[in-house]
């Protein structure tokens, strides 16, 4: 059965009434994300929508969890503002029809290329309201940017994939939208040089807001290394010029081209549905990213590209028995970081770890924390780790 509360009171009611696990979803755009759940009932938040307030002068809004991201982006754009962290739209890789909701963006800590300069969703998320396993509505954070009052459950909720309780409201800080953007593209670099150039550029004072490398075959035949600058027009021109000195040339994509290309990077268009290969998202240190990919390649071919100056690697592999989980986990263990199996058939996601398995003491804490929110394991149990 699908429960679709339209108010927080109904949401609380649904949780209180539940005697068996509930699968929590937002708009249903990311059904393929996380471990599959054995839940009879689905708790959908898509009808719990609507903006509660938006104060452009304070650059903050609060919305109910089911509010579509697109609606909010539209609202912000009208006031020349934006979500700083540029959330990816998962419809692209899952080919799903459901629209992404702001609650899911918060719960899954979804960020895009601009994460490198402006932080992740969790960095802009300043308040949440959620319902815990006791069926209580809980507030954490608030509407002001600086707030250290009490434990930061906001951060804990961001990236908990609903396992600590469905969010009912989220409050984000936003930023003015830069008046224009442009991208510097370098051509023909191998991975190592490309990452080197990206790191040099990101380590410059020119505030790179996107740093990606697309090897040959990713959105084009030849390798491209991309650096985005967003600012007022004069600054964009000036900074591109300075950047060229640092990375040794490159040509410029204008605002429209830049915007279109970064949307593709953001939404991982290179591996978009109907491509059904297994898809991994790996966070690591830029200086070790190339080595990490090389290690995986030793066990068989992969398609890949880098975002976040090399700190984020997207890897597409044949599904096979384990979607190369063993190779990838070994490479991550050697290089540091964490890997998430973002797309794979349901049975495979039930068999292999979707999220990086935490160390034993962290796993113990994960269990204890989960129990402190949801002792009866009603809320999305097993979404992240089996039995939690």
């Amino acid at each position: 059965m699908i429960l679709s509360p339209t108010s927080e009171a109904e949401l609380i009611e649904a949780v209180r009434a539940a005697r068996a696990p509930l699968a929590i979803e937002g708009g249903g755009s990311k059904g393929g994300l996380g471990r599959p759940l054995q839940a009879q009932d689905t708790l959908s938040l898509k009808n719990l929508g609507g903006v509660i307030f938006y104060e452009p002068a304070e650059m903050v809004f609060r919305a109910r969890a089911g509010t579509p991201v697109a609606q909010l982006e539209q609202m912000l754009a009208e006031h020349g503002q934006m979500l700083p962290f540029e959330p990816m739209n998962h419809q692209s890789i899952y080919g799903a029809a459901g629209a992404p909701t702001i609650g899911a963006v918060a719960a899954c800590n979804i960020s895009g290329p601009r994460r490198i300069s402006h932080g992740a969703a969790r960095d802009s998320l300043i308040g949440v309201r959620f319902v815990n396993g006791f069926g209580e509505a809980i507030n954490s954070g608030g509407r002001v940017m600086k707030n250290v009052t009490g434990l930061d459950l906001v951060k804990l909720q961001a990236g908990a994939f609903g396992t600590l309780g469905p969010l009912s409201e989220v409050t984000f800080k936003v930023l003015p939208r830069p008046s224009t953007q442009a991208t510097l593209a370098l051509h023909g670099l191998d991975d190592a040089r490309a990452i080197g150039a990206l790191c040099r550029a990101v380590g410059s004072p020119f505030e790179i807001s996107g740093a990606a490398h697309l090897p040959a075959g990713i959105l084009g035949d030849a390798p491209r290394t991309l650096l985005r600058i967003e600012n007022v027009p004069e600054s964009v021109v000036y900074r591109l010029g300075e950047l060229q000195k640092i990375v040794g040339g490159g040509d410029t994509l204008d605002a429209a081209q830049s915007e279109a290309l970064w949307r593709q990077v953001r939404d991982v268009a290179a591996f978009a549905s109907p491509d059904a290969r297994a898809l991994w998202r790996i966070s690591t240190a830029p200086s070790r990213a190339v080595d990490l990919v090389r290690r995986v390649q030793q066990g068989g071919a992969v398609a890949h590209f880098y975002d976040w100056s090399g700190g984020l690697v997207w890897l597409a592999v044949e599904t096979g028995d384990d979607a190369r989980a063993a190779d990838i986990r070994a490479a991550v263990a050697a290089c540091g970081g964490h890997a998430t199996l973002v797309r794979a058939p349901v049975d495979l996601r039930a068999r292999v770890d979707v999220f990086q398995p935490p160390s034993a003491p962290l796993m113990a804490l994960t269990r204890a924390v989960k129990a402190s929110f949801d002792p009866n394991a009603i809320l999305n149990p097993g979404r992240m780790y089996a039995g939690v």
């Binding site: 809980i138 600086k146 434990l151 804990l156 690591t284 200086s287 984020l312 964490h338 998430t340 402190s372």
Partner: protein, 483 residues
């Protein structure tokens, strides 16, 4: 001052003091253990000196492993632990208890590694905030959060309090700038959270630990994110006839979508106090001052400044003075960052730390003044205006108990006001003991109980800094609410 209660020391622990000290002495060399009363005395308080409690003993471990052994022992012995960095907390976060052992990180002050390509740096928890930036300044990098106490406060304490600073308007606070940390749990287990990459996998324990005021574990190492210094930075002084005008100007700057690196506010009294110490050229004739820092290339700074000046003019700005040299810039910031200390020349003070929506700044400044006057005291305001983080310094005479009570009452009224206009009790200094008993003003019982259950998930026995953050009856409430 006795308005804020501490729990009664556990007589059973006090009775076992010798045994506990003997146990610690077996784990660390003598120079890492402080036991004599005279010497323990120096650890009885932090920067909230009105409250003091003599600890059972002080341990200063030198490594994570030593910390782990100490923690395991104390856990086994059921002894409470208060983590201490530099002891600069303004909220009493590092004040001990008679039946607690202080674990100080001051001997762990090594820089462990710097990586410019990955823009990260690994340090021990006792490294001071400024030492991090200083270590990489020559290479053009810095660590962004810059509490005014950055000269002295440790990165461990910054993590404990999720500290902010003047430049956090653009770059975020501690939680936005830490990539990883190593922590010793209550029972001595060592956990590694995050790493030198972006976003820790799994639950965001790092985000939870930052700001947890030493209640979830003792951080012994951290990986911080380094940023590249801007091409140039220029603080500009804007003098206004009144606080109201300056406050309105702040709201207007932000409202126009301009985010300078910093917008700092000083009222007349604060200007006088800071100028006397730093000789920074603050306009003594102004009723209020904004220090606005812009950065970028020369043209970029000029362009942004021009827009800010136009806005300031609409609010009747009386002086605009740009820093013309590195020395002037240093003096301007030195004055600002010494504000609290310099206030000590004039009077004792308590420093409030509520945050309010920027649109409420004027209203809250006005009300603050009323409140303080009502108690017959004086107030100096010097704070991070860009993000609405107020710091009214309520001035009083600490040797006069009646004044002290009034000062505390005024402080409480101000903080409640901050919450009531949509803000919060503390923007960067933390709850500590100071705001502990106001937590119910901001949170419901259920909110608090949820936080306390999370806390208990790390520290079932409530041994870590137990007198802080949560109301003293909280522990029992948390236990019973977990039906």
């Amino acid at each position: 001052m006795t308005a804020i209660a501490f729990p009664k020391p556990d007589p059973a622990i006090l009775a076992r003091r010798d045994e506990i000290i003997a146990g610690l002495a077996a784990l660390v060399p003598p120079e890492c253990l402080v036991t004599s009363e005279d010497e323990r005395r120096a650890f009885e308080t932090d920067a909230l000196t009105a409250y003091r409690r003599l600890p059972l003993a002080v341990v200063l471990p030198r490594t994570t492993e030593e910390t782990s052994k100490v923690m395991a022992f104390l856990h086994g012995a059921g002894v409470k632990v208060v983590a201490r960095g530099a002891g600069t907390s303004l909220a009493g976060g590092a004040i001990p208890q008679e039946d607690a052992v202080v674990v100080g990180l001051s001997k762990m002050s090594k820089i462990l590694g710097v990586d410019f390509a990955d823009r990260s740096m690994r340090v021990q928890a006792g490294v001071t905030n400024l030492a991090i930036s200083n270590a990489v300044a020559a290479d053009g990098f810095f660590y962004a959060p810059d509490p005014s106490s950055q000269l002295a406060c440790t990165i461990g304490g910054n993590i404990g309090m999720n500290s902010g600073g003047a430049h956090c308007l653009k770059y975020g606070v501690t939680t936005n700038n830490i990539l990883g940390a190593r922590m010793v749990l209550a029972d001595g287990a060592i956990v590694e959270m995050g790493g030198d990459w972006l976003d820790s996998g799994g639950l965001d324990f790092l985000g939870l630990v930052i700001g947890s005021e030493g209640q979830l574990g003792i951080v012994t190492e951290a990986t911080v994110r380094l940023l590249r210094q801007a091409e140039g930075a220029r603080p500009v002084l804007f003098g206004f006839p009144t606080s109201e005008a300056a406050g309105a100007c702040v709201a207007d700057i932000i409202g126009n979508g301009i985010i300078p690196v910093a917008i700092e506010f000083m009222d007349k009294l604060a200007i006088e106090i800071c100028e006397a110490f730093a000789h920074a050229g603050y306009p003594l004739d102004a009723g209020a001052l904004l220090i606005v820092e812009v950065e970028g290339s020369e043209t970029e700074m000029d362009a942004q400044l021009q827009r800010i000046v136009e806005i300031a003019q609409r609010h009747g700005v009386s002086t605009v003075r740009e820093s013309k040299s590195a020395m002037e810039t240093a003096a301007i910031w030195k004055g600002r960052k010494s504000a609290f200390g310099a206030t000590g020349r004039v009077a004792d003070y308590i420093c409030m730390d509520g945050t309010v929506p920027t649109s409420q700044l004027c209203h809250v400044l006005e009300k603050t003044d009323e409140i303080v006057k009502h108690y017959g005291l004086r107030v100096a305001n010097v704070f991070h205006a860009g993000d609405g983080n107020m710091h009214p310094l309520v001035m009083y005479n600490v040797n006069d108990p009646a004044e002290q009570e009034k000062a505390e009452a005024a402080g409480m009224d101000i903080l409640k006001l901050c919450v009531d206009v949509g803000g919060c009790l503390t923007g960067e200094h933390g709850v500590g003991i100071e705001k502990r008993d106001l937590m119910r003003h901001q949170f419901s019982e259920a909110d608090l109980a949820q936080q306390m259950r999370v806390r208990a998930a790390f520290d079932e026995g409530w041994l870590l800094n137990p007198a802080k953050v949560f109301p003293l009856d909280g522990r029992t409430i948390a236990a019973t609410s977990a039906r």
